[in-house]
């Protein structure tokens, strides 16, 4: 009797969602583990993603969880107030499908997936409230939709012109408002000592990322671009101390690999700089295609990875307001998000990455519906052409069905880079 009941149990929507997400997770993790010369210390990250997305394991039971919708919310402040930031940008096709019913069909899959995730209410670590910086149109508007599902969403004013002095002052004030609000919500006061500590801690984490990237400048690249995306994506939700510990171990292994010349690439593998709409786990469609076609991603210019770690906070006098101002400047002025009016900074950054990581070409991916990246594509392509850097522009979404057409284009591009490399080699 028991047995038949078990067999006939109807799956709830939540269970179905979890099962589908687990399937997406396993598929990607499996492919990563199968790659050439796997890194043992990456096991921590594979396990983390499996725990969270296959087993819905909560990592922050005891803490106040602060949801963030973009990278412009300073995690330093959240940590300093004894809460945990959880970045909610989502990469699951399962959630994208849920969100599709709630947003226009042509909306960005990342926003759809994020909204879908909220609509399902199915979190392993559910945020107590959400800060939403007014970055791109779709994220800005998504806030109101999410609020409709019963979440508290606080808009954080974010300017779209970054050159002007007004915008600097505006965002500095905005960050102060955010701090006041979070102080009220946590019932704690932001102290000089605490904030300095967390700035230093995030700074240390950033430093580890920079050290990891230094290995990618080598001829023998010890770590794949996909593994790097996994490491940086884990920072969205992981316990920061465990993350730091795991990356330290990863660094040790990379050092050993460097000494023994263990690499994931062949000498002729084209080296790629990846830019555009952010790859967020498990949507590694394009990065996987690239690395499965015998190229290696040596650097990226995306908000799910490089942009989170690249820029640091410097303060002259360590008063709370000085720290807040310096942070505001960093999160605004150094940001290369395409939502800004002009964006020569992004172009300069890509060119600099190509140079410092001796890359052979750039892959620029935009989600269909991610208007700002689609719009900026032309200017970036022009600039790359001018600089003599080969670039491939791709449009993709979260659906698993698109593979064939994309892989043909990626393979052709990489093959052409390889040919060029061989010619130059001779």
């Amino acid at each position: 009797m028991m047995n038949t009941e078990m067999h006939h149990k109807i799956e709830t929507p939540k269970e179905k969602q979890n099962r589908h997400k687990a399937m997406e997770t396993v598929k990607v993790l499996h492919a990563l583990k199968e790659a050439k010369n796997p890194i043992t210390t990456m096991e921590y990250f594979y396990q983390r993603f499996e725990d969270v997305y296959c087993h819905q394991k909560s990592l922050h039971d005891d803490k106040l969880k602060v949801g963030t919708m973009c990278i412009q919310i300073p995690s330093e402040i959240i940590y300093a107030l004894d809460a945990v930031p959880i970045r909610l940008c989502n990469g699951f096709y399962t959630d994208d499908e849920i969100g599709s019913d709630l947003l226009p069909q042509k909306a960005c899959p990342l926003v759809k997936a994020t909204v879908g995730h909220f609509a399902s209410g199915n979190f392993s670590d559910k945020p107590h409230f959400v800060y939403s910086p007014t970055t791109c149109d779709q994220k800005t508007k998504a806030g109101a939709t999410i609020e409709g599902f019963g979440y508290e969403v606080i808009d954080v004013d974010f300017p779209r012109v970054k050159e002007s002095e007004i915008s600097r002052e505006y965002f500095r004030r905005s960050i102060r408002e955010f701090t006041l609000d979070l102080e009220k919500k946590t019932g704690k006061r932001l102290t000089k000592k605490k904030l300095r500590e967390t700035i230093s801690k995030i700074g240390y984490a950033q430093g580890l990322y920079h050290k990891l990237c230094a290995y990618r400048k080598e001829k023998d690249v010890p770590i794949s671009g996909n593994d790097m995306f996994l490491v940086t994506n884990a920072f969205f939700f992981d316990r920061i101390d465990s993350w730091i510990h795991a990356v330290e171990e990863l660094l040790e292994e990379c050092e050993k690999r460097k000494e023994n010349h263990v690499s994931i690439n062949a000498r002729v593998s084209p080296r790629i700089v990846y830019t555009g709409s952010p790859p967020i786990f498990p949507n590694y469609k394009i990065p996987m295609l690239i690395e499965q076609s015998d190229a290696v991603i040596v650097a990226d210019e995306t908000c799910s990875s490089n942009r989170m770690f690249n820029d640091r906070v410097a303060v002259d006098e360590w008063f709370v307001n000085d720290m807040l101002d310096s942070m505001a400047d960093k999160y605004l002025k150094a940001c290369t998000c395409p939502i800004f009016t002009k964006n020569d900074d992004r172009i300069r950054r890509i060119i600099d990455l190509v140079k410092t990581y001796s890359a052979d070409g750039v892959v620029y991916q935009a989600f269909a519906g991610c208007t700002v990246y689609e719009l900026e594509q032309r200017s970036v392509l022009e600039a790359m052409e001018k600089a003599g850097i080969p670039i491939l522009y791709l449009e993709s979404d979260y659906s698993p069905s698109q593979g064939g057409q994309l892989s043909t284009r990626v393979e052709a591009f990489i093959e052409s880079l390889k040919m060029k490399k061989r010619k130059q080699g001779k």
Partner: protein, 328 residues
């Protein structure tokens, strides 16, 4: 060589600077006690009204020479002006504006007022962009006073009471002697209307100097005619502040630590020579830059001090956080 370079790039700039400043302060305020005399063409506010200074500010001989009657000035005295200028340039070429950031006792005094404020837990003030743009011109007005007023005296348009008009207004004349116990300058000169106005302004500026430097970092440097004069010759110096725009992410760290609020240091990514007229070449920007080689201080073509990731982390006190291993 690599090791020395690394050591320099990792240095605690604040400490090094403090020591150099302390040493120069003693030299240029009390050097007279040790019978040191470095001449009167110094590109700093080492005020000779203070009898114990080990040298004198160039603005004094400059004003005196320019105030000679026109015929003499165009004749033999012209040579004196030129040799004076060469003397000034001789000093200036070695250090450029680092005279301001490391040697000028008047600058150091302001930094000490800043330390005092910091100790008291009071936050510094800044100018808005608008105020900055307007106030930034004042130093050129003072420079015009330094150069034009003596010339007008020379052709007889201004009387003798305008002699060294800038010095009469200069707060260094009032404050520097006081540092060696001479308070005789703390007066208003009633001998003529002009002198009265000028010395009253001097007293006012001296008062403003203390109040201003307490709330605003390097308050006076912003208005200093010497700084304006420096800027005119800054390209000829063997030391330069340079920037590699391609490496800059415009994160604003350099701007955040800049005592002079120079925006270009962060925002301008095209100029290689990034020294601006307000710069005091304190090199705090280089020390606060987290990008390898984006900002560097060059002596001739040699990179004497470069921004590095490692140096940045050291100076910002970024170390391994406590409690990392407790998790495991």
């Amino acid at each position: 060589m690599q090791k020395i370079k690394k050591m320099i790039n990792n240095m605690n700039l604040q400490k090094v600077r403090f020591i150099i400043q302390l040493f120069s302060f003693i030299l240029f305020v009390y050097g007279g006690y040790f019978a040191i005399d470095l001449g009167s063409k110094l590109p700093i506010f080492a005020c000779p009204y203070n009898g114990e200074a080990a040298g004198a500010c160039y603005l004094i001989p400059l004003q005196h020479q320019l105030s000679m009657p026109a015929q003499i000035l165009l004749g033999g005295a012209g040579i004196a002006v030129i040799t004076g200028l060469l003397g000034f340039l001789f000093w200036f070429i070695f250090l450029n504006k680092a005279w301001c950031g490391y040697v000028c006792p008047f600058g150091t005094l302001q930094d000490w007022l800043t330390y005092l404020r910091k100790r008291m837990g009071i936050r510094y003030s800044t100018y808005s962009q608008n105020q900055f743009d307007k106030l930034s011109k004042i130093k050129y007005i003072f420079l015009v006073i330094v150069i034009l007023f003596p010339l007008l005296m020379g052709v007889g348009l201004l009387g003798g009471e305008w002699s060294a008009a800038f010095c009469q207004m200069c707060p260094a004349r009032i404050i520097s002697p006081a540092l060696s116990g001479d308070f005789s300058q703390w007066t208003i000169d009633f001998s003529s209307k002009t002198a009265m106005v000028l010395t009253a302004l001097g007293m006012l500026f001296a008062g403003l100097f203390f109040a201003g430097s307490f709330v605003k970092k390097r308050f006076f440097c912003f208005f200093c005619p010497m700084s304006a004069l420096h800027y005119i010759f800054s390209k000829f110096s063997i030391v330069q502040l340079r920037k590699e725009g391609s490496k800059c992410t415009r994160c604003g760290d350099c701007y955040a630590v800049c005592d002079m609020q120079i925006k270009d240091i962060a925002d301008n990514v095209t100029d290689v020579n990034i020294l601006r007229d307000d710069c005091i070449l304190c090199l705090k920007c280089v020390a606060a830059c987290p990008e390898d080689d984006a900002l560097h201080f060059d002596i001739l073509k040699f990179r004497a001090f470069s921004s590095t990731k490692e140096g940045f982390e050291k100076r910002m006190g970024i170390g391994r956080p406590k409690g990392i291993d407790d998790e495991h």
